[in-house]
Amino acid sequence: MNDTLEIKREAQLRETARRLLEDGTVGYIIGWGTTRFEDKTAPLFAAKPEEADRLVWNEYCINSLAKYSLDDKYPEKKIGICVRGCDSRAVNRLVNDKQIERENLFLIGMPCSGKENSVCEGCSHKNPVVYDILIGEPVEENTEEKASAERFREIEEFEKMSPDERYEFWAKQYDKCIRCYACRNICPACSCKECYADQYMVGWQGKQNNRAESQVYGLTRAYHVGDRCIECGECERVCPMGLPIMRQTKKMLKDINDLFGNYECGVESERAPVLGEYDLTDRDEFM
Protein backbone atom coordinates (compact mmCIF):
# COMPACT_ATOMS: atom_id res chain seq x y z
CA MET A 1 0.00 0.00 0.00
CA ASN A 2 1.73 3.19 -1.03
CA ASP A 3 1.28 5.33 2.03
CA THR A 4 0.78 8.82 0.66
CA LEU A 5 -2.37 7.83 -1.27
CA GLU A 6 -3.77 5.96 1.75
CA ILE A 7 -3.01 8.74 4.21
CA LYS A 8 -4.76 11.19 1.88
CA ARG A 9 -7.70 8.76 1.71
CA GLU A 10 -7.80 8.51 5.51
CA ALA A 11 -7.89 12.28 5.84
CA GLN A 12 -10.67 12.48 3.26
CA LEU A 13 -12.58 9.75 5.14
CA ARG A 14 -12.37 11.66 8.40
CA GLU A 15 -13.43 14.89 6.76
CA THR A 16 -16.41 13.20 5.04
CA ALA A 17 -17.37 11.44 8.28
CA ARG A 18 -17.29 14.67 10.21
CA ARG A 19 -19.49 16.36 7.60
CA LEU A 20 -21.98 13.49 7.53
CA LEU A 21 -22.27 13.45 11.31
CA GLU A 22 -22.61 17.22 11.51
CA ASP A 23 -25.37 17.59 8.93
CA GLY A 24 -27.18 14.57 10.41
CA THR A 25 -27.45 12.43 7.27
CA VAL A 26 -26.26 9.51 9.41
CA GLY A 27 -26.96 8.61 13.03
CA TYR A 28 -23.51 7.05 13.49
CA ILE A 29 -20.72 5.71 11.32
CA ILE A 30 -19.20 2.23 11.59
CA GLY A 31 -15.53 2.26 10.70
CA TRP A 32 -12.18 1.09 12.02
CA GLY A 33 -10.46 2.55 15.09
CA THR A 34 -7.13 2.03 16.77
CA THR A 35 -6.56 -0.55 19.49
CA ARG A 36 -3.82 -0.92 22.04
CA PHE A 37 -1.76 -2.84 19.47
CA GLU A 38 -0.41 -1.01 16.48
CA ASP A 39 -1.03 -3.89 14.04
CA LYS A 40 -4.71 -4.37 14.95
CA THR A 41 -7.75 -2.17 14.34
CA ALA A 42 -11.21 -2.73 15.85
CA PRO A 43 -14.68 -1.72 14.67
CA LEU A 44 -15.45 1.84 15.81
CA PHE A 45 -18.91 3.33 16.12
CA ALA A 46 -18.48 7.11 15.76
CA ALA A 47 -21.64 8.94 16.78
CA LYS A 48 -20.43 12.51 17.43
CA PRO A 49 -18.63 14.67 14.83
CA GLU A 50 -15.51 14.98 17.01
CA GLU A 51 -15.22 11.18 17.13
CA ALA A 52 -14.75 11.18 13.33
CA ASP A 53 -11.04 11.76 13.80
CA ARG A 54 -10.68 8.42 15.58
CA LEU A 55 -11.49 6.65 12.27
CA VAL A 56 -8.37 5.12 10.70
CA TRP A 57 -7.57 3.66 7.28
CA ASN A 58 -4.46 1.48 7.02
CA GLU A 59 -3.47 -2.04 5.98
CA TYR A 60 -4.73 -3.46 9.30
CA CYS A 61 -8.41 -2.59 8.70
CA ILE A 62 -9.45 -6.23 8.17
CA ASN A 63 -12.68 -6.61 10.22
CA SER A 64 -15.85 -6.84 8.06
CA LEU A 65 -18.40 -4.26 9.25
CA ALA A 66 -21.55 -4.95 7.18
CA LYS A 67 -23.13 -7.45 9.57
CA TYR A 68 -23.20 -4.92 12.43
CA SER A 69 -26.14 -3.31 10.68
CA LEU A 70 -28.15 -6.39 11.68
CA ASP A 71 -27.99 -5.25 15.31
CA ASP A 72 -29.88 -2.07 14.47
CA LYS A 73 -32.43 -3.10 11.87
CA TYR A 74 -34.83 -0.23 12.54
CA PRO A 75 -32.61 2.86 13.00
CA GLU A 76 -34.17 6.35 13.27
CA LYS A 77 -31.41 7.76 11.07
CA LYS A 78 -29.29 6.15 8.35
CA ILE A 79 -26.30 4.09 9.47
CA GLY A 80 -23.00 5.04 7.90
CA ILE A 81 -20.78 2.07 7.09
CA CYS A 82 -17.27 2.14 5.59
CA VAL A 83 -17.35 -0.53 2.91
CA ARG A 84 -14.44 -2.03 1.06
CA GLY A 85 -15.08 -4.31 -1.93
CA CYS A 86 -15.92 -7.34 0.24
CA ASP A 87 -18.04 -5.35 2.72
CA SER A 88 -20.12 -3.89 -0.13
CA ARG A 89 -20.81 -7.43 -1.35
CA ALA A 90 -21.76 -8.34 2.22
CA VAL A 91 -24.27 -5.46 2.22
CA ASN A 92 -25.69 -6.75 -1.06
CA ARG A 93 -25.87 -10.19 0.49
CA LEU A 94 -27.83 -8.97 3.52
CA VAL A 95 -30.12 -6.81 1.40
CA ASN A 96 -30.87 -9.65 -1.01
CA ASP A 97 -31.67 -11.92 1.93
CA LYS A 98 -34.19 -9.27 3.06
CA GLN A 99 -32.41 -8.83 6.39
CA ILE A 100 -31.66 -5.10 6.10
CA GLU A 101 -33.16 -2.24 4.10
CA ARG A 102 -30.78 -0.58 1.67
CA GLU A 103 -32.36 2.82 2.48
CA ASN A 104 -31.31 2.48 6.14
CA LEU A 105 -27.63 2.46 5.14
CA PHE A 106 -25.33 5.20 3.91
CA LEU A 107 -22.35 3.38 2.38
CA ILE A 108 -18.99 5.13 2.40
CA GLY A 109 -17.06 3.37 -0.39
CA MET A 110 -13.37 2.74 0.38
CA PRO A 111 -11.37 1.47 -2.61
CA CYS A 112 -9.02 -1.06 -1.02
CA SER A 113 -5.79 -2.34 -2.52
CA GLY A 114 -5.55 -5.32 -0.17
CA LYS A 115 -5.02 -5.73 3.58
CA GLU A 116 -2.94 -7.93 5.89
CA ASN A 117 -5.24 -10.84 5.10
CA SER A 118 -4.48 -13.89 2.92
CA VAL A 119 -7.84 -13.64 1.12
CA CYS A 120 -6.93 -10.24 -0.37
CA GLU A 121 -4.43 -11.98 -2.66
CA GLY A 122 -7.02 -13.13 -5.28
CA CYS A 123 -9.54 -10.38 -4.58
CA SER A 124 -11.78 -9.79 -7.62
CA HIS A 125 -13.58 -6.66 -6.34
CA LYS A 126 -11.17 -4.21 -4.77
CA ASN A 127 -13.50 -1.30 -5.44
CA PRO A 128 -16.86 -1.33 -3.65
CA VAL A 129 -19.66 -2.61 -5.92
CA VAL A 130 -22.23 -0.40 -4.21
CA TYR A 131 -21.74 2.87 -2.30
CA ASP A 132 -23.35 6.27 -1.71
CA ILE A 133 -20.08 8.20 -1.63
CA LEU A 134 -16.60 7.11 -2.76
CA ILE A 135 -13.53 8.22 -0.82
CA GLY A 136 -10.60 8.89 -3.12
CA GLU A 137 -9.96 7.36 -6.56
CA PRO A 138 -10.90 3.76 -7.36
CA VAL A 139 -7.88 1.45 -7.29
CA GLU A 140 -6.90 -0.75 -10.19
CA GLU A 141 -8.62 -4.16 -10.05
CA ASN A 142 -6.86 -7.51 -10.24
CA THR A 143 -6.69 -8.77 -13.81
CA GLU A 144 -9.57 -11.06 -14.75
CA GLU A 145 -7.33 -14.14 -15.15
CA LYS A 146 -5.41 -13.60 -11.89
CA ALA A 147 -8.63 -13.30 -9.87
CA SER A 148 -10.34 -16.28 -11.48
CA ALA A 149 -7.16 -18.41 -11.40
CA GLU A 150 -6.75 -17.63 -7.73
CA ARG A 151 -10.43 -18.12 -6.90
CA PHE A 152 -10.59 -21.93 -6.88
CA ARG A 153 -6.88 -22.78 -6.98
CA GLU A 154 -6.87 -24.10 -3.43
CA ILE A 155 -9.95 -26.24 -4.09
CA GLU A 156 -8.62 -27.70 -7.33
CA GLU A 157 -5.39 -28.71 -5.63
CA PHE A 158 -7.30 -30.28 -2.76
CA GLU A 159 -9.50 -32.25 -5.14
CA LYS A 160 -6.44 -34.02 -6.48
CA MET A 161 -6.05 -35.92 -3.21
CA SER A 162 -7.62 -39.37 -2.85
CA PRO A 163 -10.95 -39.68 -1.01
CA ASP A 164 -9.35 -41.24 2.09
CA GLU A 165 -6.65 -38.57 2.19
CA ARG A 166 -9.34 -35.93 1.90
CA TYR A 167 -11.38 -37.54 4.68
CA GLU A 168 -8.34 -37.78 6.96
CA PHE A 169 -7.51 -34.13 6.31
CA TRP A 170 -11.03 -32.94 7.16
CA ALA A 171 -11.32 -35.33 10.12
CA LYS A 172 -8.17 -33.84 11.68
CA GLN A 173 -9.41 -30.32 11.00
CA TYR A 174 -12.79 -30.93 12.59
CA ASP A 175 -11.13 -32.62 15.57
CA LYS A 176 -9.64 -29.19 16.29
CA CYS A 177 -12.99 -27.38 16.09
CA ILE A 178 -14.07 -26.11 19.55
CA ARG A 179 -17.57 -25.10 18.29
CA CYS A 180 -17.21 -21.48 19.29
CA TYR A 181 -19.44 -20.57 16.24
CA ALA A 182 -17.27 -17.51 15.43
CA CYS A 183 -17.41 -18.55 11.73
CA ARG A 184 -21.23 -18.46 11.86
CA ASN A 185 -21.51 -15.18 13.74
CA ILE A 186 -19.15 -13.25 11.45
CA CYS A 187 -20.55 -14.59 8.15
CA PRO A 188 -22.89 -12.18 6.29
CA ALA A 189 -24.64 -15.15 4.64
CA CYS A 190 -25.48 -16.60 8.08
CA SER A 191 -28.31 -14.28 9.06
CA CYS A 192 -30.93 -16.64 10.52
CA LYS A 193 -32.88 -15.38 13.50
CA GLU A 194 -32.27 -18.63 15.39
CA CYS A 195 -29.60 -20.93 14.00
CA TYR A 196 -30.50 -24.59 13.48
CA ALA A 197 -27.56 -25.49 15.72
CA ASP A 198 -29.19 -23.71 18.67
CA GLN A 199 -32.45 -25.66 18.39
CA TYR A 200 -31.82 -28.63 20.65
CA MET A 201 -35.53 -29.44 20.90
CA VAL A 202 -35.59 -30.32 17.20
CA GLY A 203 -32.31 -32.18 17.61
CA TRP A 204 -30.49 -31.30 14.40
CA GLN A 205 -27.16 -30.74 16.11
CA GLY A 206 -25.92 -32.13 19.40
CA LYS A 207 -24.02 -29.88 21.79
CA GLN A 208 -21.32 -32.41 22.53
CA ASN A 209 -18.04 -31.70 20.80
CA ASN A 210 -16.91 -34.85 19.00
CA ARG A 211 -15.59 -35.33 15.49
CA ALA A 212 -18.92 -36.41 13.97
CA GLU A 213 -20.92 -33.48 15.43
CA SER A 214 -18.31 -30.97 14.27
CA GLN A 215 -18.24 -32.55 10.80
CA VAL A 216 -22.03 -32.35 10.56
CA TYR A 217 -21.89 -28.70 11.68
CA GLY A 218 -19.10 -27.89 9.23
CA LEU A 219 -20.83 -29.47 6.26
CA THR A 220 -24.28 -28.15 7.12
CA ARG A 221 -22.95 -24.60 7.29
CA ALA A 222 -21.05 -25.13 4.03
CA TYR A 223 -24.31 -26.29 2.43
CA HIS A 224 -26.39 -23.47 3.93
CA VAL A 225 -24.16 -20.66 2.72
CA GLY A 226 -22.71 -22.50 -0.30
CA ASP A 227 -24.81 -20.79 -2.95
CA ARG A 228 -24.68 -17.35 -1.27
CA CYS A 229 -21.05 -17.12 -0.10
CA ILE A 230 -19.38 -13.84 -1.10
CA GLU A 231 -15.86 -15.23 -0.56
CA CYS A 232 -14.83 -12.53 1.94
CA GLY A 233 -12.69 -15.00 3.95
CA GLU A 234 -13.89 -13.74 7.34
CA CYS A 235 -14.74 -17.27 8.53
CA GLU A 236 -11.15 -18.33 8.07
CA ARG A 237 -9.74 -15.17 9.66
CA VAL A 238 -11.82 -15.42 12.85
CA CYS A 239 -11.40 -19.17 13.45
CA PRO A 240 -9.32 -19.45 16.65
CA MET A 241 -8.20 -22.92 15.61
CA GLY A 242 -7.23 -21.94 12.08
CA LEU A 243 -9.53 -24.32 10.19
CA PRO A 244 -9.47 -23.79 6.36
CA ILE A 245 -13.26 -23.08 6.27
CA MET A 246 -13.14 -21.29 2.90
CA ARG A 247 -11.80 -24.50 1.37
CA GLN A 248 -15.11 -26.09 2.40
CA THR A 249 -17.60 -23.33 1.54
CA LYS A 250 -16.05 -22.43 -1.82
CA LYS A 251 -16.32 -26.00 -3.05
CA MET A 252 -20.03 -25.50 -3.67
CA LEU A 253 -19.37 -22.21 -5.44
CA LYS A 254 -16.95 -24.03 -7.73
CA ASP A 255 -19.58 -26.69 -8.50
CA ILE A 256 -22.24 -24.06 -9.15
CA ASN A 257 -19.87 -22.34 -11.56
CA ASP A 258 -19.23 -25.61 -13.35
CA LEU A 259 -22.89 -26.70 -13.43
CA PHE A 260 -24.97 -23.56 -13.74
CA GLY A 261 -22.73 -20.98 -15.38
CA ASN A 262 -20.48 -18.36 -13.82
CA TYR A 263 -21.87 -17.16 -10.54
CA GLU A 264 -20.61 -14.55 -8.13
CA CYS A 265 -22.61 -13.56 -5.09
CA GLY A 266 -23.39 -10.13 -3.79
CA VAL A 267 -22.02 -8.32 -6.84
CA GLU A 268 -25.05 -7.04 -8.69
CA SER A 269 -28.76 -7.17 -8.00
CA GLU A 270 -28.94 -10.79 -7.15
CA ARG A 271 -29.94 -13.50 -9.53
CA ALA A 272 -31.97 -15.73 -7.20
CA PRO A 273 -29.67 -18.02 -5.18
CA VAL A 274 -29.07 -21.15 -7.21
CA LEU A 275 -30.93 -23.38 -4.74
CA GLY A 276 -33.89 -21.02 -4.83
CA GLU A 277 -34.70 -21.60 -8.49
CA TYR A 278 -34.68 -24.42 -11.00
CA ASP A 279 -34.02 -24.83 -14.70
CA LEU A 280 -35.53 -27.45 -16.97
CA THR A 281 -32.24 -27.75 -18.86
CA ASP A 282 -30.17 -28.75 -15.81
CA ARG A 283 -27.96 -31.77 -16.33
CA ASP A 284 -29.72 -34.92 -15.24
CA GLU A 285 -27.14 -37.23 -13.71
CA PHE A 286 -29.48 -39.28 -11.56
CA MET A 287 -31.03 -41.21 -14.50
Binding site: E165, R166, W204, L259, L275, D284, E285
Partner: protein
Protein backbone atom coordinates in the same frame (compact mmCIF):
# COMPACT_ATOMS: atom_id res chain seq x y z
CA UNK B 1 -22.12 -53.47 14.52
CA UNK B 2 -21.95 -57.21 14.57
CA UNK B 3 -18.81 -59.12 13.89
CA UNK B 4 -17.07 -58.50 10.57
CA UNK B 5 -18.04 -61.85 9.07
CA UNK B 6 -21.80 -61.54 8.78
CA UNK B 7 -21.89 -57.76 8.63
CA UNK B 8 -25.03 -56.53 6.86
CA UNK B 9 -24.96 -53.06 5.19
CA UNK B 10 -27.64 -50.72 6.56
CA UNK B 11 -29.07 -48.54 3.78
CA UNK B 12 -31.74 -45.88 4.17
CA UNK B 13 -33.76 -44.64 1.18
CA UNK B 14 -35.85 -41.47 1.27
CA UNK B 15 -38.59 -42.27 -1.23
CA UNK B 16 -41.24 -39.98 -2.64
CA UNK B 17 -44.73 -41.16 -1.86
CA UNK B 18 -46.23 -40.68 -5.34
CA UNK B 19 -43.59 -42.41 -7.45
CA UNK B 20 -40.86 -44.51 -5.88
CA UNK B 21 -42.87 -45.64 -2.84
CA UNK B 22 -45.67 -46.67 -5.23
CA UNK B 23 -43.07 -48.42 -7.39
CA UNK B 24 -41.85 -50.26 -4.30
CA UNK B 25 -45.41 -51.33 -3.49
CA UNK B 26 -45.84 -52.49 -7.09
CA UNK B 27 -42.62 -54.50 -6.77
CA UNK B 28 -44.14 -56.05 -3.66
CA UNK B 29 -47.39 -56.77 -5.45
CA UNK B 30 -45.46 -58.61 -8.17
CA UNK B 31 -43.48 -60.49 -5.48
CA UNK B 32 -40.17 -59.22 -6.84
CA UNK B 33 -37.30 -60.14 -4.50
CA UNK B 34 -34.55 -57.81 -3.36
CA UNK B 35 -32.15 -57.75 -0.35
CA UNK B 36 -33.40 -56.76 3.11
CA UNK B 37 -30.81 -54.05 3.68
CA UNK B 38 -32.76 -51.10 2.31
CA UNK B 39 -35.20 -49.35 4.64
CA UNK B 40 -37.58 -46.86 3.04
CA UNK B 41 -38.54 -43.55 4.67
CA UNK B 42 -41.73 -42.24 3.07
CA UNK B 43 -41.84 -38.52 2.29
CA UNK B 44 -44.51 -36.67 0.30
CA UNK B 45 -42.04 -35.44 -2.33
CA UNK B 46 -38.34 -35.89 -2.95
CA UNK B 47 -38.07 -32.11 -2.47
CA UNK B 48 -39.02 -32.70 1.20
CA UNK B 49 -35.68 -34.42 1.80
CA UNK B 50 -33.36 -31.94 3.45
CA UNK B 51 -29.70 -32.64 2.56
CA UNK B 52 -29.00 -32.48 6.29
CA UNK B 53 -30.88 -35.78 6.65
CA UNK B 54 -28.10 -37.37 4.56
CA UNK B 55 -25.44 -36.15 6.98
CA UNK B 56 -27.61 -37.36 9.86
CA UNK B 57 -27.92 -40.82 8.32
CA UNK B 58 -24.16 -41.18 7.88
CA UNK B 59 -23.54 -39.80 11.36
CA UNK B 60 -25.97 -42.23 12.98
CA UNK B 61 -24.44 -45.27 11.33
CA UNK B 62 -25.94 -45.85 7.90
CA UNK B 63 -23.62 -47.38 5.32
CA UNK B 64 -25.54 -46.09 2.31
CA UNK B 65 -28.15 -43.39 1.68
CA UNK B 66 -30.49 -43.03 -1.27
CA UNK B 67 -32.94 -40.36 -2.37
CA UNK B 68 -35.51 -41.57 -4.90
CA UNK B 69 -38.21 -39.53 -6.59
CA UNK B 70 -40.26 -39.09 -9.74
CA UNK B 71 -38.63 -38.40 -13.09
CA UNK B 72 -38.17 -34.68 -13.66
CA UNK B 73 -41.30 -33.44 -15.42
CA UNK B 74 -43.85 -35.76 -13.89
CA UNK B 75 -43.52 -34.81 -10.22
CA UNK B 76 -46.92 -34.87 -8.57
CA UNK B 77 -46.19 -31.38 -7.26
CA UNK B 78 -45.01 -30.09 -10.70
CA UNK B 79 -41.63 -28.58 -9.83
CA UNK B 80 -40.63 -30.55 -6.71
CA UNK B 81 -37.93 -32.73 -8.20
CA UNK B 82 -36.25 -29.90 -10.12
CA UNK B 83 -35.21 -28.53 -6.73
CA UNK B 84 -34.26 -32.02 -5.58
CA UNK B 85 -32.02 -32.45 -8.60
CA UNK B 86 -30.15 -29.21 -7.90
CA UNK B 87 -29.85 -29.74 -4.17
CA UNK B 88 -28.42 -33.23 -4.46
CA UNK B 89 -26.18 -32.52 -7.41
CA UNK B 90 -24.40 -30.06 -5.12
CA UNK B 91 -24.64 -32.11 -1.90
CA UNK B 92 -23.30 -35.21 -3.68
CA UNK B 93 -20.20 -33.33 -4.76
CA UNK B 94 -19.76 -31.83 -1.29
CA UNK B 95 -19.86 -35.32 0.26
CA UNK B 96 -17.38 -36.70 -2.26
CA UNK B 97 -15.18 -33.67 -1.61
CA UNK B 98 -15.13 -34.64 2.06
CA UNK B 99 -14.10 -38.19 1.28
CA UNK B 100 -17.40 -40.09 1.23
CA UNK B 101 -17.29 -42.77 -1.46
CA UNK B 102 -19.59 -41.63 -4.32
CA UNK B 103 -21.48 -44.93 -4.28
CA UNK B 104 -22.53 -44.48 -0.66
CA UNK B 105 -24.92 -41.67 -1.56
CA UNK B 106 -27.06 -42.15 -4.67
CA UNK B 107 -30.13 -40.43 -6.06
CA UNK B 108 -32.41 -42.13 -8.57
CA UNK B 109 -35.57 -41.29 -10.48
CA UNK B 110 -37.93 -44.26 -10.22
CA UNK B 111 -41.54 -43.80 -11.31
CA UNK B 112 -44.60 -45.55 -9.90
CA UNK B 113 -44.71 -48.09 -12.69
CA UNK B 114 -40.99 -49.01 -12.76
CA UNK B 115 -41.18 -51.86 -10.22
CA UNK B 116 -38.42 -53.80 -11.98
CA UNK B 117 -36.15 -50.76 -11.98
CA UNK B 118 -36.80 -50.35 -8.22
CA UNK B 119 -35.81 -53.96 -7.51
CA UNK B 120 -32.73 -53.78 -9.73
CA UNK B 121 -31.64 -50.49 -8.17
CA UNK B 122 -31.99 -51.87 -4.63
CA UNK B 123 -30.11 -55.03 -5.50
CA UNK B 124 -27.37 -53.15 -7.31
CA UNK B 125 -26.90 -50.54 -4.56
CA UNK B 126 -26.85 -53.18 -1.83
CA UNK B 127 -24.17 -55.09 -3.75
CA UNK B 128 -22.10 -51.93 -4.23
CA UNK B 129 -22.31 -50.97 -0.55
CA UNK B 130 -21.60 -54.52 0.62
CA UNK B 131 -18.48 -54.51 -1.53
CA UNK B 132 -17.43 -51.13 -0.06
CA UNK B 133 -17.68 -52.51 3.47
CA UNK B 134 -18.85 -50.78 6.65
CA UNK B 135 -18.76 -47.00 6.57
CA UNK B 136 -16.76 -45.33 9.34
CA UNK B 137 -16.68 -41.83 7.88
CA UNK B 138 -18.78 -39.21 9.66
CA UNK B 139 -19.92 -41.89 12.07
CA UNK B 140 -20.33 -41.18 15.77
CA UNK B 141 -18.04 -43.18 18.00
CA UNK B 142 -21.12 -44.69 19.59
CA UNK B 143 -21.60 -46.83 16.50
CA UNK B 144 -18.02 -47.42 15.56
CA UNK B 145 -17.22 -49.09 18.85
CA UNK B 146 -20.36 -51.19 18.86
CA UNK B 147 -22.63 -49.10 21.03
CA UNK B 148 -22.87 -49.00 24.83
CA UNK B 149 -20.77 -52.02 25.85
CA UNK B 150 -17.56 -50.10 25.45
CA UNK B 151 -18.67 -47.10 27.49
Amino acid sequence: MSVEKNWEPKIIAFTCNWCTYTGADLAGLNRMKYPENVHLVRVPCSSRVNPQFILRAFQKGCDGVMVCGCHPGDCHYATGNYFTRRRFMLMKRLLEYNGIDPQRFQARWISGSEAAKFRDTMTQVTAQIRELGPNSKFQEKWYQEGGPENE
